[in-house]
Symmetry: C2
């Protein structure tokens, strides 16, 4: 049995017309001898509508009841898709997360998958059914309905592919693949034929990913090859796979910019062990996510630490730093909101020298000042003034992705 | 623990404002020391909206998938009501039919309840929760979601009361009780303080019931006392209970008229055993529900049979009768659509002579011709020309319910 797992996002099943189109696409696979397992999201904006209803009742809805409420969205989609497949002449059966025993922890609204029982899916496939599973939802060990949080349906799809031992999982979304840069910024952007899990994770972290990092981590862990593509066309999208499997490795496969973070700097901190851990330990305990961290080389036993946090967390982060300042021996806490983080991501960096240097050169040629630099195995990020964000993406893209390829 | 079971219909939870009002009503019971188990329907017209979506996809939706689809309506209501109860300062937890193991047969869209596990409800009550259960839905033995058909949420409520061994079940609806006649027809109609299960069943059969017959049968079987009342007022409604428990028994407690049936007459059938069983056996096999049946006394070994069927089934019924006519020896199949069935219902008839005669006299006084008569233990029904339906209800109500009481 040649099984393929497909996931259709909210836009792909946004109307009954779209659901019928999805049924036709699935029929194409069945006609070609595939057995198909489909994971679907809630229809278009239906989740927003449910959130609105809850908001009319309370400002602080119980998370358990939110999951009870929101999980209905996917249940509606699976039933309608089953009907559309029947109408297309196929046999099909739909299952909720509970029915296939998608067992999660009890962390409502952001649950983690523990296990999936693949038996029911296998049985239904053997009876020639298209198997439709509600994405985004599961049940905890006490049979309470849970949801998986952002990108949850992608994670459901990957987890089901892994549980079935299926290598290929198609992720249908409203874009037709992963691009080297945002097409709204860069005219000569290209769709990538392939990208590695690591690059995809880096892009997700940088806010430019089509997929949520959790689903990519899952795919990497269980070696599930993702095919990110559009349900509005038959064109090939982008394959997300292991580095080893990639046909060609570009030095840089994507350039991104994000503007949702702010920079905090504490000056003249005493330069001794334990200071950084005290600071970031405190921020972590207060659930403030810190992205980039740079510590300047000290002089006179003093150093400065700069880091970036979500703009939403800035006020709280400054408050906490203010409280710690005395302990740390810092003289002042400064912040800057109009920054952008411009990044270049690519597995090819690993085997290519001088990428960072070339990137800095490209920026300096246009007089873009770099305020912070951070590098990872497969990425380089620079904090710059937010007004240069688009320019920076354009010139880095041009230098690495347009001229030499 | 003083437990009360309450069921709120679609109008009672039609908007988030209404849901908040229901939460306040429940709070009143909690403040008075009750433990409350609440069964809710889908919000207002939300089921219609789901049916519309299915209709956009297929004219013949799979019943299993219809149940998957429609059961989301109640799931939305229970989550929102739980949130509203939390907002009102109460602890509350919601459960789907699946979660309380409301196990039914596998007859999708019209399933019958086999068993309920009361353990989860008892546990939650012991932890001081208001327990909210999705009405209308269950699961079959293979964990497929089922729905209970028309009046399903009332049946859920009664079944849960029975499973918990609770005597009292309040049914909140958009009318404030059971009336002696339709107030749109009869000006001097009265709300009944009490009515027996049998009368309520007869009214349901005659299409005038506030409750579906299945829930009343359940209530009768398990001796659950129903209180039919409005969620829009604090007034007492109507208690549905056993005849033995009723304080006073009226000769007639209700007068109804229905116009959704048509009459079929087969003339000159051979008058011998087996003829009626052949005819009605055939109609039954074809799932045509026959309400009234009258066979005229034969002469010359011939008889006529008249019966009523739903107007929707008339064409098919005539076709079947036409096919059987030769076998039965009938000469012609006639039908009449513009009829009404006017009925008087009351347990008091059992101990009161001459009710039928008085009813016929009342009708004849106004020159209303009676085309068929059928009597049951607690009801008399007459088929008359549909144009006299309202008049008939008025004069029978006047004779039995206004003049002598």
């Amino acid at each position: 049995m040649k099984i393929i797992v497909q996931k259709y996002g909210g836009t792909s099943v946004g109307t009954t017309e779209r659901i019928k189109a999805v049924a036709q696409r699935i029929k194409g696979y069945i006609d070609n001898g595939y057995s198909v397992v489909v994971i679907v999201s809630a229809m278009g904006k239906s989740t927003d509508e449910l959130v609105r209803l809850a908001g009319e009742i309370t400002a602080q809805p119980s998370k358990r009841e939110m999951d009870m409420l929101l999980s209905t969205g996917e249940q509606i989609s699976i039933a309608l898709l089953a009907m559309a497949l029947h109408e297309a002449g196929l046999t099909a059966v739909s299952y909720t997360g509970s029915q296939i025993r998608m067992v999660t922890d009890g962390n409502f609204t952001n649950a983690k998958i523990h296990s999936i029982s693949s038996e029911k899916i296998h049985d239904a496939l053997r009876s020639n059914n298209v198997v439709i599973v509600a994405g985004f939802q599961g049940v905890d060990r006490d049979d309470n309905i849970t949801t998986l949080g952002r990108g949850g349906s992608d994670t459901s799809a990957v987890a089901i592919a892994a549980a079935l031992g299926v290598r290929d999982c198609e992720i249908y979304t409203d874009v037709d693949g992963v691009y080297t840069a945002d097409p709204r910024i860069v005219a000569r952007t290209r769709k990538l034929r392939e990208i590695s899990y690591e690059e995809m994770l880096e892009l997700a972290r940088l806010g430019a990913g089509v997929l949520h990092s959790r689903s990519v981590e899952f795919a990497k862990k269980y070696d599930v090859r993702l095919h990110v593509r559009s349900s509005f066309s038959s064109e090939e999208g982008t394959i997300v796979t292991s580095r080893e499997e990639m046909m060609e490795k570009f030095v840089i496969s994507g350039v991104t910019a994000k503007s949702d973070e702010a920079k905090v700097t504490i000056r003249d901190i005493v330069d001794r062990p334990g200071v950084a851990s005290k600071l970031f330990g405190c921020l972590g305990e207060n659930k403030i996510y810190v992205n980039m961290i740079v510590q300047s080389t000290g002089h006179d036993g003093k150093a400065s630490i700069s880091f970036t946090v979500k703009k939403d967390d800035l006020a709280r982060a400054k408050e906490l730093c203010g409280g710690l300042k005395g302990d740390l021996g810092g003289t002042s806490v400064e912040s800057k909101e109009d920054i952008a983080i411009v990044s270049a991501v690519g597995v090819g960096m690993l085997s290519s020298y001088g990428v960072a240097g070339r990137m800095f050169e490209v920026l300096s040629r246009e007089n873009v000042n770099i305020e912070m630099i951070s590098t990872s195995e497969i990425g380089i990020s620079c904090v710059i003034d937010s007004k240069y964000a688009e320019l920076a993406v354009k010139i880095i893209h041009k230098a690495f992705l347009e001229e030499n390829q």
